[in-house]
């Protein structure tokens, strides 16, 4: 790792950039344009976000709130819980002295905003002992923690065993390397059924006991009720946005896709996310009413469903590109959430969660159910053709959202998806959905450059007659 990379902590750098970014629109447009010139490495993504108006500003402010908590966690006398995005945030926000920091979210911020992305942190992980095919979404931030370039976590929580071996190994490695206590939620290979539900709820209670022990505080019932009520309200808004994205043209701006899942993964149950979602809904409703696409031009040339994850490398060029091509970006499949009212869960209610705030026990059961239906947890657990998994979700989304094509963008860093992506492609094509498999890494340009990805996606769109 270069000396200059060691100069500042990762969490401090992200906090500094996002907090500054969240303020740039507070001045005049002239000042804004002048400020953009000062941030050459990430002005594209900042501009793409802030050009959305109020939702963009709220997204930045939500990010600033999140990163401020992480950067100043010990200064504020709180405990830092580090983990993977497949564990729901709601529980942690119900403790008044716990700050959750999820590896993938920090990696996404750093990938989009740092000049060379997170390459040096990724490589540091390999120097320390990770394999080179370990998940890059993890390595991108974990490297900084292993190198002591971030606030040291007080405890670790991982929701990956049974879902993702690389996630589970990364957290176990970090626990051993930094000597930090770790709790791992485990997942059976199926999603539904009494036995499964009971197992997951019992496991979740063990997690709560672990957090209480290491946070030195008790889970507060009133606070939990308030978080879950906020979560329920957020679900209602998300459900309406998802319904509106079915329209042709799709009224949701492409970057809102990021706002939706980043918001849910980072600030679920917090008021800042509710404010963002309400603002997004207003924009989507207005576009829908005007029959306008959410793209900058207001036109829709094609509808794209990313059937795994999006692409984040330097300056978030993915969103700028789809928008410039008048491509509507439908909700990314792996980041879907399964509340009872969401449209793609129709006739699959047994695969959904419901929030019950009547008693403490009911709330904990709800938390366990939410957690066991998190993105990736739901789609990639168990074997490929198990009920309720990736393929079924892809078909349901395709029927509902009517994408023109799908793209899988990934590498063997995600073995669970990479190992079956050819089956997904085969079945999607049989289903009538043109599907491109792209060997690339959403977080690491060194695997395949963004230019390579654009070339391949454009070629696919032309060859398959999606655009002329």
């Amino acid at each position: 790792m270069k000396r200059e990379t060691r100069e500042y902590n990762l969490d401090w750098m992200l906090w500094s950039s996002v907090v500054s970014g969240s303020k740039v629109m507070d001045g005049t447009d002239k000042e804004y344009q002048a400020l953009l010139r000062l941030i050459p490495n990430f002005r594209g993504i900042i501009d793409t976000i802030l050009r959305q108006g109020e939702p963009g500003r709220l997204f930045m402010k939500m990010g600033a709130e999140y990163l401020d908590d992480i950067k100043a966690v010990h200064e504020k006398g709180k405990k830092l819980c580090f983990g993977t995005f497949v564990a729901s945030k709601d529980l942690f926000y119900a403790f008044d002295n716990v700050v959750p920091a999820w590896a993938e979210i920090l990696t996404v911020f750093a990938t989009m905003m740092m000049r060379k992305g997170t390459a040096e942190y990724m490589d540091y992980c390999c120097e320390a002992g990770f394999t080179e095919t370990s998940c890059s979404a993890q390595r991108g931030s974990v490297g900084a923690y292993l190198a002591g370039l971030a606030e040291k976590p007080d405890f670790l929580v991982c929701g990956a065993p049974g879902i993702c071996d690389t996630n589970a190994n990364a957290m176990q490695f970090m626990s051993e390397y930094l000597d930090i206590p770790l709790f791992q939620l485990t997942f059976p290979s199926n999603l539904t059924g009494r036995r499964i539900t009971d197992y997951q709820r019992k496991d979740y209670r063990a997690l709560i006991a672990f957090v209480e022990e290491h946070a030195g505080s008790r889970l507060d019932e009133d606070r939990l009720r308030s978080v879950l009520a906020e979560h329920r309200r957020q679900d209602e808004i998300i459900n309406e946005i998802f319904d509106l994205t079915r329209l042709k043209p799709c009224p949701m701006p492409p970057i809102f896709n990021l706002f939706l899942y980043a918001g849910r993964l980072q600030s679920s149950g917090r008021k800042s996310l509710t404010a963002l979602l309400e603002s997004m809904l207003r924009v989507v409703r207005e576009n829908a009413k005007a029959g306008r696409a959410g793209t900058v031009s207001g036109r829709e040339r094609a509808r794209l469903l990313m059937c795994y994850i999006d692409h984040y490398t330097t300056d978030g060029r993915f969103w700028q590109w789809v928008d410039s091509q008048d491509i509507s970006l439908l909700p990314t499949l792996i980041f879907t959430f399964f509340n009872r009212g969401i449209n793609y869960a129709e006739e699959r209610q047994d695969q959904t969660y419901e929030i019950d705030t009547s008693t403490m026990d009911a709330m904990i059961d709800s938390l366990a159910d939410i957690n066991s239906r998190m993105p990736m947890v739901k789609q990639l657990r168990g074997p490929y053709d198990a009920a309720g998994m990736w393929r079924e979700d892809l078909f349901c989304m395709t029927r509902l959202m009517k994408p023109d094509f799908a793209v899988y963008l990934g590498s063997m860093g995600c073995r669970n998806s990479y190992g079956v992506n050819k089956l997904i492609q085969r079945d999607a094509e049989r289903f009538g959905l043109p599907t491109l498999l792209l060997f690339a890494d959403a977080f690491d340009d060194r695997v395949a450059s963004w230019e390579f990805c654009v070339e391949k996606i454009s070629e696919f769109m032309h060859v398959r007659g999606i655009v002329s």
Binding site: E429, F439, A448, E459, H462, V463, R464
Partner: protein
């Protein structure tokens, strides 16, 4: 009306000129660092071979890596579409195309109308591309063309364990040091190449007739090894397979001019 196609590839640049369905001229040059210059150079040669000038060309379509940099083309089309178009134009019975270029390889499956049903391109590394053969030929002190010719003399072809081009080089050096005949080494190299590309080809589903396009299709050792790997004969096309992308581009230009 006279149509042209220009294919600026990573290693070579090609041009084809058509008058209706008749081939008037073609040329191939080594690509330089300047795609525009390579395109102009090859087009001049193709025009000279057809005894034409640029003013005689009604429309030129560009393809290949450098297609966006060609000043004289009016339209660009992807290489996959061009190889499919060119092969179908020459031989309508073709259903599967294996194209091995300088820096990539592709497998393309067509329907009876010549429409692309499925395609796949290589990823991760360069071991199934023309560059792999170039590196190996240099290592053996052979011209690229000789690599194919001498492999027919092999009695005990080597087996290359490594997929990686650099590690495969190390293996070949080891065999060279052991005094292994070059023919056996060449045959092993061709077979390794075919084995690698066959995985890609099988993944689109092999349907006959099958042909190979691109520069590597001129290597009889690889073509024969591919036939063995896939268990199907390779249909030989009646034009230099390396020109297929440029031919397809010219056919696209011809169609755009309204010539069916």
């Amino acid at each position: 009306m006279i149509a042209a196609g220009c294919d600026v590839g990573s290693l070579t640049t090609k041009a084809v000129i058509l008058n209706n369905a008749r081939l008037l001229g073609h040329a191939l040059v080594r690509s330089s660092f300047n795609p525009e210059k390579s395109a102009s150079e090859v087009m001049e040669k193709a025009l000279a071979s057809a005894r034409l000038t640029m003013d005689d060309i009604s429309l030129c379509v560009g393809t290949g890596y450098g297609r966006e940099r060609i000043g004289f083309v009016k339209k660009t089309v992807s290489e996959i579409s061009c190889h499919a178009k060119g092969a179908h134009f020459l031989q309508p019975s073709i259903r599967t195309i294996i194209d091995i270029g300088g820096q990539d390889c592709k497998a393309i499956r067509l329907d009876a109308k010549g429409e692309i049903v499925k395609f796949i391109t290589n990823d991760k590394c360069a071991s199934g591309t023309g560059r792999f053969l170039e590196v190996m030929a240099k290592l053996l002190g052979l011209e690229l063309g000789e690599l194919g010719r001498i492999s027919g003399q092999a009695t005990h072809p080597i087996t290359l364990a490594s997929t990686c081009t650099v590690w495969a080089q190390a293996e070949v050096i080891m065999h060279l040091n052991e005094g292994m005949p070059k023919a056996d080494l060449a045959a092993g190299i061709n077979e390794a190449m075919a084995a690698r590309v066959a995985i890609l080809a099988r993944s689109v589903g092999i349907e006959q007739d099958v042909c190979m396009t691109g520069g590597v299709a001129k290597n009889p050792g690889v073509v024969e090894a591919m036939e063995k790997q896939l268990g199907v004969p390779m249909r030989r096309l009646r034009l230099d397979p390396q020109l297929m992308g440029a031919l397809g581009a010219a056919v696209f230009a011809r169609e755009r001019l309204g010539v069916s």
